[in-house]
Symmetry: C2
Subunit: 416 residues, 2 copies
């Protein structure tokens, strides 16, 4: 698209009350806009990145048999009372409101209860199992203090998947598949090398739950990392027993900071029993369904990516989640060659942000670094003397002259 | 996809408390699930239809220069106080909640206020105009009685576009473009012939606002239709003066029932003045921006389509919004030919729901009629004797035998 058509503008400075790097850069570059503490609107560029992340997650969830649906934000008090999670003393991040008749309703901070209760309409027999369902949903959590930009919001976007399995064994098999799918998601979004499966405390049903922690200096969690085994242990379960069980020694572990980008959890049969989700097994006996839940914070992932991939000039998007493949900038007197290249690249199926604005070279280059598109193609009077375009990666300083004809013919390989 | 993989099941009867045809059929067929009065989850099939509708709307909004973004559900009280729309006596459908510090927050029932206030960060000069932005957002409205299924929910999905224009003339030009874009949306979703531009009461700024009303026996509104001129007048503005102005006579108008599927409205400069959205014109003078708002109820559209297109057996989807292009059903002893056809159709880029379940022929055909996919391809021992498949349109009773080879080679034309 033409950069002149974007209604957003880059800002030289971030709002004073915004201390996190992720929100500062995303606001300055025009990806998000703060509505109130902990609640951010996604502007056109930000929504593009969000949709790219969602599509990666969607593909990996579909690949393990997930079916996408969309639950409601309004939730019935009665369901959460059955599992003893309505009381503000038990769950302290509820937003609640009232219907006209005075009945209280909850605003979704999670969906295990309504989704599990809903499944009583569809799961009756062992033949109906397994079921894997997921959604991308806005969650509302009434945090005492919303900080860390989009890493911990009062309103945020989450992918939550729920597995309904016939037995503990079947559950574990899927649980391990989900771990692999999560690794693929983080690999594809550029966080593969820095994201580690982390053992955290489980519940009544299993010894551990699992988190996916991305190493980050601004991370909120302290974890103990074993680089050789590519696993980490959350502080809360760092005991001699656990270390022995995982075959690691304390001396091999590094204390590092992490941002939690995903978590998976076994509920066993507890919630199914509380909410009445039973199935008839092959012998005709009634048994509770085994439930697992699998979250990825979509907007948090966006924030973590920015925390990991930026420099003093701005954002540096991993290719797979960049809002555009290439940032084409014309600073030549005559725009004809850049215009032609813009059209040719689009015809090759490459997404281009084209800066043909009537502003200074300095503004264009500064904006480009702030926006963070991984490849920059610059057309200037100097490059045109050689019928060329200057290609530069956002994370490298070296540039490369490429003949415009060659760029048009082999755009994909040049933009790798 | 394989029908056996769908976790949803068709139901012979709808919930007793559900009186509307749209919700009855959508629930029975497994498209939606009721969470509470006025709040429905979209199950995998329902979400597919919703996404198809959204994509049609998205294409038409992009075609008139719209840029997609996503606002938040949490809203600041202070913004709505400035326009005098916070008080429950002024706006009686608010859901409100409280932050931990006791401050009230609103849950979005509309977005004019926050989106207009946000634009003060991006619009300062005539050079920044016009701006057309839109979103698909969940709206929450605290209706006293939620009825009519998904036609009037407490939680529903809406497309809302906002236009920011430099002058009344520029505003009107876009307003008319939006009318044409809306006609295209309703045309493409199958409602073109039965949806009419309807003159309704305006506000301080303009004499009229405009609704798009789809003729429907279950519609909530009474409108006066002039078939020849393809326009309608809402009861509230049916005066001699208005009829004279529109060049119609009372005797030419039919009193009919309609469901409002879209509306467009001019706010003039009122909200911009209340919220401080001004721009510098070419002479350097400060002027308020002219605002228009343009809504389409996405989930309501889904409901209206079902109200319009169904028979006693179930839903009959218009092709463009059907969850699948074709419903392939095998009732032959040997599934090999149907399996082969399933794969071939998918390779041709056709979306297929394939019923190879081990259930009776009667159940398969009844389910198929209920689900409402516009084309049904039936493979039976009888059709296989002629190496054929039986093709039937959901809205016709006649069937047609087509050689399986021909179907594979020319699927697209056969499924027109």
């Amino acid at each position: 698209m033409l950069q002149s058509e974007l209604f957003t503008k880059t800002l030289r400075t971030a709002p004073k009350d915004e201390q996190s790097v992720n929100a500062q850069l995303l606001i300055r570059a025009g990806y998000i806009h703060k509505q109130m503490a902990g609640a951010y609107a996604y502007l056109p560029l930000g929504l593009k990145v969000i949709e790219k992340i969602k599509n990666i997650v969607r593909e990996e969830m579909n690949a393990i048999g997930g079916q996408e649906l969309l639950m409601t934000s309004l939730q019935r008090k009665e369901l959460w009372e059955r599992t003893d999670r309505w009381d503000d003393k038990k769950v302290d991040i509820w937003f609640k409101s009232q219907l006209k008749n005075g009945n209280e309703v909850g605003l979704a901070w999670s969906h295990e209860e309504p989704i599990t209760e809903m499944m009583t309409a569809y799961i009756n027999s062992y033949r109906d199992l397994p079921v894997y369902i997921y959604q991308f949903q806005t969650k509302l959590r009434n945090e005492l203090r919303a900080k860390s930009g989009i890493l911990r919001g009062r309103e945020f976007l989450m992918k939550d998947l729920y597995s309904y399995s016939i037995s503990k064994e079947a559950h574990e098999e899927f649980y391990n598949k989900a771990i692999q799918a999560y690794h693929k998601v983080f690999e594809r979004t550029g966080l593969g090398d820095s994201t580690f499966l982390t053992f955290a405390s489980g519940g009544a049903f299993t010894q551990f739950s699992h988190e996916f922690q991305t190493l980050s200096e601004t991370g909120e969690d302290v974890i103990y990392l074993h680089r050789g085994k590519k696993l980490a242990i959350n502080k809360e379960v760092l005991t001699d027993e656990v270390m022995a069980q995982l075959g690691v020694k304390r001396s091999e572990l590094e204390e590092v900071k992490g941002s939690e980008v995903g978590n998976i959890f076994s509920f066993g049969s507890t919630k199914s029993e509380q909410l009445g989700l039973y199935f008839k097994d092959e012998s005709g006996a009634q048994r509770p369904v085994i439930l697992g839940s699998y979250g990825i914070g979509i907007s948090r992932l966006l924030g973590v990516i920015v925390e990991k991939f930026h420099d003093e000039k701005g954002i540096i998007w991993p290719r797979a989640v960049s809002p555009f493949d290439v940032h084409l900038i014309n600073i030549a007197e005559n725009t004809a060659q850049a215009d032609k290249l813009y059209k040719a690249l689009q015809l090759s199926g490459i997404s281009v942000l084209y800066d043909q604005r009537d502003v200074s070279v300095g503004v264009k280059l500064t904006d480009s670094d702030l926006l963070g598109i991984p490849k920059r193609a610059l057309v200037s009077d100097k490059t045109l003397k050689e019928d060329s375009v200057e290609l530069k990666s956002r994370n490298e300083s070296k540039t490369k002259l490429i003949a415009i004809k060659d760029m048009m013919a082999n755009a994909r390989s040049h933009l790798q």
